[in-house]
């Protein structure tokens, strides 16, 4: 039971007959996870303090990237430990209840929703695909583009300043063209991969300094793929990587199906 001044952090919800073990995994905020069972469902929860996880504290913490990093990883670690045994509906970060009774109540009220989500993700996994535009080769060393003299109308002679502008134009045009090609490739890749998925979800592209890649991200998507089709999905990825020269593709997974379980048990 939740202690006085404590809150209950929900990691996820599994079917009631799943034996949940999160061996030796420290939960968010310290104590190891435990379970609450109701309505044929098992919620995986942890005890956290009101002081550190109440609304005011959370607001502060959610703006602190270091806290976010630690907490997100701890949350994910519990789900990863449990997910090997069967489908678990993963909660988003900071799904909190005031007490165990709140958890039980929600399991009972939303039992159909949880079971529907479990059905959707059963024997399926989420895979993440990101595509980046490939940095175009520097056209500065390429031959001057005919028909677009920088120096103006008649005189083709270019002093160093004019030549510099010519180079910059070529670089900017190349970058723009590369981006257009990359976007077209991204659309194709998404359509092709979608054929292997039960569902897909597209996220906004990640900012370059977060993503750790200097070129723009043109696709950031998640696909829910039946486990028995996972190798076909991987083969499709390899094929697309070979065929599309304007994008760099990366694959992550399998993930707990974060992207396919809706907004969680919050107020509707």
């Amino acid at each position: 039971m939740a202690a006085e001044g404590g809150l209950v952090w929900m990691y996820g919800v599994a079917s009631g007959d799943l034996e949940v073990f999160a061996d030796g995994v420290a939960g968010v905020g310290g104590p190891p996870p435990r379970t609450i069972t109701a309505a044929g469902l098992t919620a995986i929860v942890g005890d956290v303090s009101n002081r550190d996880y109440g609304e005011a504290a959370l607001r502060r913490h959610l703006e602190d990237l270091d806290w976010l990093a630690r907490t997100a990883r701890a949350h994910h670690a519990v789900l990863a430990a449990v997910a090997g045994r069967g489908p678990v509906v993963p909660m988003r970060l900071a799904t909190l209840f005031a007490s165990d009774a709140g958890v039980t109540g929600t399991l009972q009220e939303r039992a159909d929703d949880f079971r529907g989500a479990l059905n959707l993700i059963s024997a399926r996994s989420e895979w993440g695909v990101k595509a980046y535009a490939i940095k175009p080769a520097d056209p500065a060393h390429a031959a001057e583009e005919p028909g677009r003299p920088v120096a103006g109308r008649e005189s083709p002679a270019a002093g160093p300043g004019a030549a510099y502008l010519q180079r910059r134009r070529a670089q900017l045009t190349a970058a723009k063209d590369a981006r257009s090609e990359a976007l077209a490739s991204a659309r194709t890749v998404h359509a092709e991969l979608g054929r292997f998925a039960v569902s897909s979800r597209v996220y906004p592209p990640q900012a370059p300094d977060l993503a750790g890649q200097p070129t723009p991200m043109v696709l950031n998507a998640a696909y829910l793929v039946a486990d028995e089709r996972a190798s076909q999905f991987a083969a499709a990825m390899a094929d697309l990587t070979a065929r599309h020269r304007f994008v760099q593709l990366t694959l992550t997974g399998p993930w707990p199906a974060y992207s396919f379980v809706g907004d969680g048990p919050g107020p509707r």
Binding site: L96, S155, R168, P208, P265
Partner: protein, 106 residues
């Protein structure tokens, strides 16, 4: 708190570039800020210059002068980055909803 659910999906995680008072970190933090803005303006001017060239509204002499100045600015910028141990990507600050500060490809 009522016996209900609090789910928060905060969008903005402030990765605050903290500049403390020790001389080194202060200089580096402020320099990053200043150079990011200088680079923004440099790119803006470069694009505008190219536009003017394409429109044919500059004489050959003007083109040469503008081009040389921009070239010197570019070289000067590279020197400053090198001096302060910064890369072009360091200047590409993320403005949240506005996206990254600079267009890709310096």
């Amino acid at each position: 708190m009522a016996d209900g659910v609090v789910t928060t999906g905060q969008r903005n995680a402030a990765h605050r570039l903290r500049i403390d008072a020790d001389p080194e970190s202060l200089e580096k933090g402020l320099v990053t800020l200043v150079l990011a803005l200088v680079e923004l303006l440099r790119q803006l001017m470069e694009r505008q210059a190219l536009r003017r060239v394409d429109q044919g509204s500059l004489t050959d002499i003007q083109i040469e002068k503008v081009g040389s100045t921009l070239m010197a600015l570019d070289a000067g910028m590279a020197e400053l980055l090198d001096h302060f141990g910064l890369t072009a990507e360091d200047l590409n600050l993320d403005l949240g909803p506005l996206g990254p500060l600079l267009h890709d490809g310096r």
